[in-house]
């Protein structure tokens, strides 16, 4: 698998990984993740679950997360996503974000963008997760209602295919 030492993570990706139990797998995939200060602020907004904030703080103290801001901000996105995409562009690293429209926008800029469904399917194909484990996380992800139906549809096809054939493509 083409593992990268660093990527930059957005609020949506962190939040969903915590909710569906994929957060531990971040650290077997990436050596560390960059987090813009704006994303940190979003995660520590009072409406966010404390458990997500605790995991964030632990990862920060363990040196797995590094706060880093881009030199310049692109103007067409908002808040944390803007900083994430800008930093990915500056450092030529992948952006981990899950919201559909910013995902598509960043991909259109030529940035490698990874959503949670992509992360899940990559874990499946690399053998980290079994088909049944993947289905479990997928169902949790579907129930959040936060991931695009198009991403879910794509992931469901791959889970079925892996279950039938065991290989890609």
């Amino acid at each position: 698998m083409n593992t990268r030492a660093y990527s930059v993570i957005d609020t949506s990706f962190w939040s969903l990984c915590c909710i569906v139990g994929l957060e531990p797998y971040l650290w077997s995939t990436w050596d560390a993740l960059l987090v813009p200060a704006l994303v940190q602020q979003e995660l520590f907004h009072q409406i966010r679950p404390v458990s997500q904030q605790q995991l964030f703080t632990e990862a920060l103290h363990a040196g797995r997360l590094h706060i880093q801001d881009p030199h310049t901000l692109i103007t067409t996105l908002s808040k944390g996503e803007r900083a994430v995409v800008s930093l990915a562009q500056e450092q030529h690293i992948a952006a981990l974000l899950d919201d559909y429209r910013p995902h598509q926008h960043a991909a259109g800029l030529g940035i490698t963008v990874i959503g949670v469904t992509q992360f899940l399917i990559r874990l499946l194909y690399q053998g980290t997760l079994s088909v049944s484990e993947t289905e479990h996380h997928f169902e949790q992800l579907r129930q959040t209602g936060a991931t695009s139906p198009l991403f879910l549809q794509w992931a469901a096809q791959h889970i079925q295919q892996k279950g039938r054939r065991g290989t890609w493509p």
């Binding site: 698998m1 949506s12 559909y100 490698t112 695009s148």
Partner: protein, 74 residues
């Protein structure tokens, strides 16, 4: 009452303008106009505002994600 209703209508008008003119997520739009994400999704759905992942984009999304997966695994 009238003023309150007018403000709410203005809020949704701004939400639609933001959502349809910029690549913002529903969460961002909801935050910016001061409503919950769920309320925003429900209102958009009821008023025919284009979904955040239009079905007609499915083929291009699938191609894009499969190309990414191919690069990752080979």
């Amino acid at each position: 009452m009238i003023i309150s209703g007018g403000l709410q209508a203005l809020r949704w008008h701004v939400a639609v303008r933001l959502y349809t003119s910029r690549p913002l997520s529903v969460s961002d739009v909801a935050d910016q106009v001061g409503v919950s994400r769920g309320a925003c999704i429900e209102w958009f759905h009821q008023h025919g505002v284009a979904p955040f992942s239009p079905p007609e984009e499915a083929p291009s999304v699938e191609r894009h994600l499969n190309a990414w997966l191919d690069r990752e695994l080979h």
